[in-house]
């Protein structure tokens, strides 16, 4: 294994800036690592080796450019984000043949900052899932144990980063899809505030919940990627028109946690939490106290309604968002159809997997005449209550802390026959999407029984990514580093 691969994103960036490493060398190191680990991992749907090398050569030929904060840094992109000229499938058969002619805004900003895209990461089809088992293409393995799932839906991104195939990746988080795989694989995963990063080019699942964010090895790395992709975008009306803070400066300004108050929501620290997860997380909170943090108990009383509200909102939006995949203009069309409705039915039945079809049907149902008030409108009301809960809790503290996932990564296939059980795995992550707030998962060591990574979730105030990242960074550095994952060592 190349020494380069053991560097963090910011570490590599310094070496590239100093001229000690070429962009091509960085890319070659990643491609070699991909070649070595992909057979065991299957994290990437598409590896764009030739274009990545060509781009790296271009960068080297032009010379290091200090105006490009990610000059020469190889990254992976979740296959839910459009990449100009590079196949984008959303892990769905219905987009099997789809090559976009436009970049997602976040991707365009990464490219403009000098980043090199090495591949497109596997995911649950259309980001619907918590294990990446719903990919129509391949089964991604957890880098710590190939018999286990990497989490989802950004499981490919988390596995790829954790296995050192790339120096960072973008994922998307609708109900925990960045934080949960980060927790289950043992990397850092940040879901920014809703509206912090442009959603343009993110193939929508639940539009009012979706956010793009980084998966990286360190909090500093996450801050470096967020700094590039965050900020207003005229192409996304829901993207906030507010300036981006200096995250690096915010991180540097917080050597310890004195003066920091961490809120512990009682609803997140009770029953349903696996023993070894509970043990690792309480140890992490103790570490925070050791760094000078104060902790207070807070309450999010409407949390118990979050899963119901979330699945209604997300599936309703999904049922409409996925209507465009009709086989008319792009994507896969069933050739055997006799007439229009038949063409839609055949193309969509063949193109979408079971989970996607299940969510489209539930979403269609909750929006139907006569059911709208009982479901969608009620869910929107619950959502407001949940948002108020978080505002009240965050008035008593700087950040909230809790679990990401109630359990460590489970065995492949363990829950595929029980979708409801799988939905319940999102219990600690979805509230934050409903509230639109930023959250981050940081590795809190390996579970005593399973030996699998456990992540701690920190949640912050809207658009206070700077404050959240600063606390997360200080704590992250004090928590145990699990090192190179076993399954790809």
């Amino acid at each position: 294994m190349s020494d380069l691969i053991s560097l963090t994103l910011t570490g590599l960036r310094d070496r590239l800036a100093a001229g000690e490493v070429s962009a091509r060398a960085a890319v070659d190191a990643c491609l070699a690592r991909i070649q070595a680990t992909e057979p065991a991992l299957s994290a990437l749907i598409t590896v764009d080796a030739d274009a990545a090398r060509a781009r790296a050569d271009e960068l080297d030929a032009a010379g290091y450019d200090p105006a490009k904060p990610l000059w020469g840094v190889p990254l992976a992109i979740k296959d839910a984000l459009t990449t100009k000229g590079l196949r984008t499938t959303c892990a769905s058969k219905i987009l099997d043949n789809f090559t976009p002619f436009y970049d997602a805004e976040a991707v365009a900003r990464l490219r403009a900052a000098g980043a090199v895209i090495v591949g497109k990461a596997n995911m649950d089809e259309f980001a619907m899932g918590s294990s990446t088992e719903n990919s129509a293409y391949q089964l991604t393995r957890n880098p710590w144990d190939a018999e286990r799932i990497p989490g989802g839906s950004s499981g490919g991104s988390a596995a790829s980063v954790t296995a050192r195939q790339c120096f960072g990746a973008l994922g998307t988080d609708t109900g925990g899809s960045i934080r949960q795989p980060a927790s289950l694989c043992g990397c850092v995963g940040l879901k920014p505030s809703y509206g912090r990063v442009s959603r343009y080019g993110l193939v929508a699942y639940g539009s009012s919940l979706d956010q793009i964010g980084p998966l990286t090895r360190t909090v500093e790395d996450a801050a470096a990627l967020l700094a590039v992709i965050a900020g207003p975008d005229a192409k996304d009306s829901t993207c906030a028109d507010r300036p981006v803070d200096d995250y690096a400066a915010a991180l540097a300004a917080r050597p310890d946690l004195s003066g920091t108050t961490i809120g512990l929501p009682v609803e997140f620290w009770g029953q349903g939490l696996d023993g070894e997860v509970d043990e690792r997380l309480r140890a992490a909170v103790d570490t925070a106290r050791g760094l000078g943090a104060k902790t207070v108990e807070v309450s999010l009383p409407h949390s118990k309604y979050a899963i119901a509200a979330y699945y209604i909102v997300a599936m309703a939006e999904a049922s409409s968002n996925l209507a465009r995949f009709d086989g008319v203009r792009y994507g896969v069309r069933d050739a055997g159809a006799e007439e229009l409705v038949d063409m839609y039915a055949r193309s969509r039945s063949a193109g979408f997997g079971d989970e996607v079809q299940r969510r489209i049907m539930i979403g269609t149902y909750v929006l139907s005449a006569g059911y709208y008030d009982a479901y969608y409108r009620k869910a929107a009301q619950v959502r407001r209550l949940i948002r108020d809960d978080f505002a009240a809790a965050l008035a008593q503290c700087d950040v909230l802390a809790g679990p990401v996932s109630p359990v460590p990564a489970w065995k492949i296939g363990a829950m595929t026959d029980d979708p409801l059980q799988m939905y319940l795995m999102d219990i600690f992550t979805i509230s934050l999407n409903l509230a639109g707030l930023p959250g981050i998962s940081i590795p809190a060591g390996l579970g005593a029984t399973s030996g699998m990574p456990v992540g701690l979730q920190l949640m912050g105030r809207a658009f206070d990514e700077a404050g959240l990242l600063a606390v997360a960074n200080t704590l992250f550095k004090a928590l145990p580093d699990a090192g190179l994952p076993r399954a790809v060592a």
């Binding site: 009306s237 829901t238 409409s320 009709d326 929006l367």
Partner: protein, 476 residues
């Protein structure tokens, strides 16, 4: 058989004349090559997002203000979900629970007197594309140039009782849209479209009957005929003891009938919900006030002003103000030559007839207002006769040539020289001794014959008044 009363509500879709589409920067130009004005947003590619065109909002608010609507400072876009190949995203972005404009009204003139038609709401939405079916190739093509073009939908209250009122209301709306300069108002090209909800009930009954929604009404005449047909059809059903079925019916102009397109059970469930990709429209009071202040003189005000200012007959004023271009033309002509009544006569007669025949808007006519004014002035000065003016009108209308130069070049200047006309009079008298005798014997009706003969002799150029005087002198 009971005496029935019809209850009619109209849904009007008007395309807004913005340069770009409602949610992307593609051109709205009509008549481009198929799929020329299309981007990733209006073709519904994965991951794209809509961004609202502010000018479209301004136009829609102005229409609301012009028809006395309440303007809602906060309004929300909603998705209307249904599958069709010309609808790229699988949903139309419309407004549902919170439209841009609330209740308003339009006053219209009918043969039974003035009527006030309530307007329920005006909301914004994007248009769909077009499916083009080729039976020869057995394929269907989709043209998305129109997909995303901004529309406003103007929904009337069920206040309309006759097809005449319906047409008066539609003409009134169209006229206002044209005055505001926000819509082409072209029914055939579809920039102004109308669906009609029609039901009937025994006169005096308060409850509404079951309604049918009529589609494919692409001219004022078709609106009138379709509604009349539908009222008759429903009356026949009720008279026969049958029930009217709630359904959508397509008007067939060729046969002048309506036929069922889809029934209630096949009606779409559009599953409206707020579009999460767009934030609510939040209008500032100051913008609404600014737009209100910018409203031009509207048809009704202009009709009243022109009737008074130029002393025009009410009907002429109505016709001349129905389209802004025509009213502008009239006032420009009057500015060039101050003879408003004569100019109005020429416009309501010859000019409008030719505009209609050639499907030309007044502002696009080759014959400009100065030309029409000059033509009227030539008649007044006696340079040409009214008859000659009528004869040359088609040429002038088509060519736009200056009337003075034209009549000179064609040698049509009126002969007002008594000497020249006398010669012709003498010749006519000499050539028709029998008629002269009859005339002198009391058949004075023959004067017309002599005038005609003299006019022929002078190829129509003789001043008719002079001809009359001279003939009377000779024959007297």
């Amino acid at each position: 058989m009971p005496d029935y009363e019809a209850v009619i509500g109209l849904e009007v879709h008007a395309q807004l004349k913005t340069a770009s589409k409602l949610f992307c920067s593609c051109s709205t130009a009509f008549g481009s090559e198929p799929n020329e004005n299309v981007c990733e947003v209006c073709s519904g590619m994965p991951g794209v997002l809509p961004v609202l065109n502010r000018t479209a909002v301004e136009y829609a608010v102005k229409m609301g203000l012009a028809v006395n609507c309440e303007i809602n400072e906060r309004s929300v876009f909603a998705r209307k979900n249904y599958f069709y190949p010309d609808l790229p995203a699988g949903y139309q972005i419309s407004q549902y629970e919170s439209p841009l404009c609330g209740p308003g009204h339009l006053d219209v003139e009918t043969s039974a007197g003035p009527r006030r038609i309530g307007i329920t709401r005006i909301h914004m939405e994007n248009d769909a594309g077009k499916n083009i079916h080729s039976s020869a190739e057995n394929v269907s093509y989709v043209d998305l140039n129109r997909a995303g073009v901004p529309l406003i939908e103007i929904v009337s209250d069920p206040d309309i009782r006759t097809s005449e009122e319906a047409v008066a209301y539609l003409k009134g709306l169209r006229s206002i849209l044209l005055y505001l300069g926000i819509c082409d108002g072209n029914l055939e090209e579809g920039s102004f479209r109308c669906d009609a909800n029609v039901s009937i009930r025994p006169r005096g009954q308060a409850e509404f009957g079951t309604r049918a929604e009529l589609k494919n009404l692409n001219s004022f005449r078709n609106v009138q005929r379709a509604i009349d047909y539908e009222i008759g059809r429903q009356a026949d059903l009720l008279d026969d003891g049958e029930a009217v079925v709630q359904e959508t019916r397509l008007y067939d102009a060729g046969r002048n009938t309506t036929a069922s397109m889809r029934g209630k059970e096949e009606a779409h469930d559009y599953r409206y919900f707020p579009d999460p990709d767009l934030i609510p429209i939040q209008l500032e009071r100051a913008w609404i006030e600014k737009w209100a202040a910018e409203l031009p003189e509207l048809p009704r005000e202009r009709r009243e002003r022109m009737a008074a200012e130029y002393d025009l007959p009410a009907e002429d004023a109505r016709i001349l103000t129905e389209e802004k271009g025509l009213a502008d033309y009239f006032e420009a002509a009057v500015a060039a030559y101050d003879a408003p009544k004569k100019i109005a006569n020429w416009m309501v007669g010859e000019f409008l007839r030719r505009l209609n025949e050639t499907h030309t808007a007044a502002e696009d006519a080759a014959m400009g207002p100065e030309s029409l004014a000059a033509l009227v002035a030539l008649i007044d000065k006696g340079t040409i006769s009214g008859k000659i003016a009528k004869d040359v009108f088609p040429d002038l209308f088509a060519s736009g040539r200056a009337p003075e130069e034209y009549v000179k070049a064609k040698g049509l200047v009126q002969i007002s020289d008594a000497g020249a006309i006398e010669a012709a009079v003498d010749a006519v008298i000499a050539a028709n001794p029998a008629e002269v005798e009859a005339y002198r014997g009391g058949k004075t009706k023959l004067m017309g014959f002599f005038v005609g003969q003299v006019m022929r002799e002078t190829r129509g150029k003789a001043n008719p008044q002079l001809v009359n005087e001279l003939l009377q002198g000779r024959l007297g």
